[in-house]
Amino acid sequence: MPSLLIHGGRIVDPSQDLDGPNDLLIEDGAVARIGGKIQKPKGAETIDAKGLVVTPGLIDIHVHLREPGQEYKETVRTGTMAASAGGFTAVACMANTVPVNDNRSITEHILLEAQRAGFARVYPIGAISKGMQGQELAEIGEMVAAGAAAVSDDGLPVMNAELMRRALLYAQHYGIPVIQHAEDLTLTGKGVMHEGEWSTRLGLIGIPGSAEDVMVARDLILTEDSGGRYHVAHLSTARSLDLVRLGRSRGLRVTCEVTPHHLVLTDEEVAKTGFSTYCKMKPPLRSERDREALVQGLVDGTVDCIASDHAPHHRDEKDVEFDKAPFGILGLETTLSLCLDRFVHAGILSLPRLVELLSTGPARVLGIPGGTLKEGSPADVSIFDLDGEVTIVAAGFRSKSRNTPFDGWTLRGRPVATVVGGRRVEL
């Protein structure tokens, strides 16, 4: 593999407190040198990053690639293309495929497809329970041996407290986090949007914030007793964030992620869009008060990472009554632009903090390589244009699906290129 010199860019790497004009030399798929002006070695390829930002590869630790089983929504190939188009070099994909990724062969299949595609690294997340039935533990060790980075029944919560306690104990053998889709289904009932003023106005059945909070509180107690490593997926309420703070203050190993849509939109969006099913996901878009608290969590460090919960659905599935539509929206191709526009350009987050939330943080949460451009690390790099304006056009997505509420939004900041393992990704 020829060497690759990325020159003239602004390198932002929070893992080594780096933010400034620097060159980056990659050899044999790893970072060889970083800093200052670097002479182009003979035969090296180059990327001119003048005017661009160069960061450790962005990692989205919560996506649904839908393969195997629902290839009409997304495949490992199209999902990782979407990741690359969105500026990501790695994704972690949830286990709710058909059949469920609850065993070694599915994990291996996903990894094989990812290797064939070659657009981004893929870290499969195995199911906590067999068939995601919430009854008995899946073969967690087998999946980890095959390459799984964590376990989660995401899409469904682990309702059974004893099973959750066991998972938090058992996962410690493999040093992996247990990721919970925190939702008490008895409180959700038939709910389809956040319970609050807007569900009342629209006559839609509400999902109270307490459905999440009750589960997070329960899990933190179990985490304390088990000594386990617990991660809250798509945390969406002010109170759950407070619970995470409380857990940390008690010394628990707890982390959390927040999605861009919960940071940017609120439950009022369902009304504004006239019941658009592209505003329907779990957890639901919450109140403005919750949204503000989540943004505050980004600022004060409570939130470990931003993850998109990229959830592709076919147009026909979403083009139905609000009540009947499946939960979930896309995220991979809008996350970076949304975050740059709404948080960095809005003066809420520094660029290094955002890179931490999109790269260093997620790598730390899953304990996977990446999130840094220190010499010797894998050469996964994201390059983006901080100021370039972009208009989101869902019809042009690399993803197979189109279910985004951000279609037509004009944002400042856009992905330009990714490098995975020292190779520039060509889409």
Partner: protein, 315 residues
């Protein structure tokens, strides 16, 4: 009443929430002019001759559908009832496909009742015909609120300044939401009352007072509107038994005394006698429940007329 005349410009009637007070007044005044048709020996005018109206009911309804049908016939429209049983919907056709197929038959207006909130809005975006929401889940039921307002106006000569109590299952009621929007826009005070387990969160943000006893809700009320209690909620998480519900929130002649002397009692129907309302109230001199049904036809004639694009100058 304002004397300012406005023109109806909306293609659809999806809810009361988006209407201005002037639009509401126009609808009510227009209904007033149609009410006389129902008193004629020949109850028919040629106003909508040649117009096609489809009544698309995805939920069982006798009262509302019959009321629309009569209104359509009195306006000489050609109408068609499309109900879901035995239809393509039972064969797995999507709602959108059904709607597009109906649209291909070029109706002028579609009256729709559906159990999911937002369905009329979805159809309004997709098909060219005017959409009339005849009830979408627990969201809105605009013609019910209009006929309620029409009935109140007949008795009280005004809406502004009145105190209207609405009692019952507030959470699941589309009637209450449309009534709250309409009455508060027109300057009335609305009090909603019912068990806490059937009170939706943040309801006060819709500009209403909330009461958790029947007495607090109806004290000094000019109008008391009782809502139907769905018996299937009994014994679930909403209330333990019908008997207990009636003791807390059932309206009897005795308990009605706390309201104003000239109170009128309303109910959108169908009633559960002995559950939310005692027969002596339902059939008593304060009750205007059957008048509501009569006025429903006039109000729906007004809605059909205004939406069909026939301007007042042309008629």
């Amino acid at each position: 009443m304002t004397t300012e005349t406005i023109r109806w410009t909306r293609k659809d009637l999806l809810g009361i929430a988006e209407l201005s007070p002037a639009e509401i007044e126009l609808l009510l005044d227009t209904a007033e002019s149609f009410s006389e048709v129902g008193e004629r020996p020949i109850k028919k005018v040629p106003t909508l001759r040649g117009k096609t109206v489809i009544n698309l009911f995805f939920e069982a309804s006798t009262r509302t559908r019959s009321s629309f049908e009569i209104a359509e016939k009195r306006l000489s429209a050609d109408n068609l009832n499309f109900s879901t049983s035995g239809s393509a919907l039972e064969k797995g056709e999507s709602l959108i496909d059904t709607a597009l197929n109906l649209q291909a038959m070029a109706p002028d207006l579609v009256v729709i009742r559906h159990g999911s909130p937002g369905v009329p809005h979805m159809l309004a975006r997709r098909i060219g015909a005017g959409i009339i929401n005849a009830g979408d889940g627990a969201h809105e039921h605009p013609t019910q609120a209009l006929l309620d307002a029409f009935t109140i106006r007949r008795h009280k000569k005004r809406l502004a300044g009145l105190r209207v109590a609405i009692i019952g299952d507030i959470e699941h009621s589309r009637v209450v939401r449309s009534n709250i929007h309409l009455l508060t826009k027109m300057g009335a005070t609305v009090v909603v009352g019912g068990p806490r387990t059937l009170m939706p969160v943040d309801i006060e943000k819709l500009g209403v007072e909330v009461a958790y006893t029947l007495d607090d809700a109806i004290r000094g009320a000019d109008v008391v509107m009782m809502l139907r209690i769905q018996l299937e909620r009994q014994g679930r998480m909403s209330f333990p038994s019908v008997k207990e519900y009636f003791r807390l929130f059932g309206l009897s002649r005795e308990r009605l005394r706390i309201a104003k002397d000239d109170v009128i009692v309303m109910h959108p129907g169908p009633m559960n006698r002995g559950v939310e309302i005692a027969s002596d109230v339902a059939d008593g001199s304060d009750s205007v429940i059957l008048e509501q049904v009569t006025h429903g036809v006039s109000v729906r004639m007004a809605v059909l007329y205004l939406l069909s694009g026939v301007t007042s100058e042309e008629s």
